[in-house]
């Protein structure tokens, strides 16, 4: 069995950041890059399936991104992925989730896995659509927000629970191969050991271009996207009234607020 896990290197923003001159993104100098939190859980889920399986299972991670994304892929290798693939070409820049899904689907066609896992969403752009868009391009069954999964290698059905709003779960059985988007909390992701981090540093990362995947410039970037960023800006948000002073003074004011509430409520 082979499980392909799609991962993304996301960007958080530095405390002080600036919008790029063209007004369409944040200046990447202010990015703090890391593996997307959701993807940590989908990788762990794949590694757990491998560890509990009698038959061999290969876990392959794939990321669409520039050189810097290698860092996140190495993290995945250190946490138990067997192989890593990175796809990049400068025309992939400005791709939305659907254009990225086109690249992921092409990798899935090439790798022919039995399952494709993706995170429910990324913490930076929060599209919550890449995995399911890839499923459409592959023509595979798909399900989103999986919070519990029973998947036995070789079986043609998997059973999972969708995590719905308001603390409700929906149990579903699905035909494999399938695309599942994995929710936080489905497992407890492991920490990479120092030894595995060292080993991961020596492992190769396969780098593919668009032409390796029989894709062209029109399939990705703005041309291949379903939306286009016009403008990014820092909103004027409502701000809390700040309680100033040292900790004792701040706590005293908070205590007043609580007493006032309790006085009014009683």
């Amino acid at each position: 069995m082979k499980i392909l896990v799609a991962v993304k290197q996301v960007a958080a923003l530095d405390e002080d950041f600036a919008i790029r001159d063209d007004g369409r993104d944040v200046d990447s100098d202010f990015f703090i890059r890391d593996l997307n939190e959701w993807d940590d859980f989908s990788l762990e889920e794949a590694v757990k399936i491998r560890e509990s399986s009698a038959e061999p299972v290969e876990v392959v991670v794939v990321s669409v991104g520039p050189d810097e994304a290698d860092e996140s892929l190495r993290k995945c290798l250190a946490k138990g992925a067997d192989r890593a693939i990175r796809v990049w070409d400068t025309c992939i820049e400005y791709s939305d989730s659907i254009a990225i899904a086109r690249v992921l689907a092409a990798v899935a066609k090439r790798e022919a896995p039995n399952m494709l896992f993706a995170g429910v969403q990324s913490s930076d752009q929060s599209f919550a659509s890449t995995g399911i868009a890839a499923a459409a391009l592959l023509g595979w069954p798909h399900a989103a927000v999986v919070s519990n999964l029973t998947c036995t290698p070789g079986a043609n059905l998997a059973v999972f629970r969708r995590e719905l709003e308001g603390g409700l779960l929906h149990e579903v059985e699905i035909q494999c191969p399938a695309v599942l988007t994995i929710q936080l909390g489905i497992n407890t992701p492991r920490y990479a050991s120092l030894r595995s981090i060292k080993q991961a540093a020596a492992k190769p990362i396969e780098v593919l271009s668009l032409s390796d995947l029989a894709l062209g410039a029109a399939d990705v970037g703005e041309a291949g996207s379903s939306s286009r960023v016009r403008r990014m800006y820092v909103p004027d948000k409502a701000r809390a009234q700040l309680i100033e002073g040292d900790a004792a003074q701040q706590a005293a004011r908070l205590a007043q607020i609580i007493h006032a509430f309790k006085g009014a409520a009683s």
Binding site: E165, G167, Q241, A247, A251
Partner: protein, 318 residues
Amino acid sequence: MSGILVIGEQRRGELRPVSLELLSAGISLRRAGEEVAVAILSDSPDRFVKPLSLSGVDEIVTVKVGAAEFDPDIFESAVGALITKRNPDVVLVAHSVDSFGYAAALATRLGLGFATDVFSVERVDGELVATRGGYGQKVYVEVDFPGRNTVMLAIRGNVFKPPEQAASPRITIFDTPPVQSRATGREFIEMSAGDDVDMTAAEFILTIGRGIGEEAKVAQFRELADAVGATLGCSRPIADAGWLPKSRQVGQSGKTASTCQLYIAMGVSGAIQHLAGMKHVSTIVAVNSDAEASIFSVAKYGIVGDIFEIAEELRKHF
């Protein structure tokens, strides 16, 4: 072609409130001569006609499908058939777990313009422009859809106010061919309570988030909550780690602080999913060491500081 098509959402026989919010979003986009239609998919869609019969809605389309509950293949096929037949300008769905399961697949297959988690939408020089958040809501992002005849938008909940006035839209039946789904829904399960607390009934909640750092610190805040008379709640990472039972999680996938009047959030950054469960509370006090944390944008009062120090000092007053 033209018109606005709203896809209503139902679960276990109830219309989900976001369906009505989508109607308002749709009505706000209507241009002269355009109609707003709402489609509802169910094995017995007629029961949703009444709650959808609201002012501003021109047409209710009942779509009888072979499953009582959401199914990605069945929904993709039926909504796809509806879009292909009607060619609306705009299709509105909820940014919800059900939509996550099929909207992107459908948009990809039909080549629609597509954006998710949209909280504002308008027409600028005739072109549709949608606004969503980026980088953990630190920036807002305006997107457009050049060259797309039909645009599908997944609209964030709790943003648009539902229409209130009843009306009598015309009712149309849309026949869709049966589809063999590749998935089978089995049953709904209420997330195991863990303890018998009812966050939805609590009037005063003290919530802890990722900022507490380690499980050993939970006890300090449990004791503090007891001392001040608050119900102890948490954000997602705390429940996921098993430090507090899921029944205490406030947010989209947890509980809504429905009757809460005072909400103290300590070490909670304010992810959009958490805000969905508490931002309506009249008095919110946020305590966080990060002055830029999103929680401060919904709080009435803010304390930028060390949560442990504040907790310790606060305890002395009770």
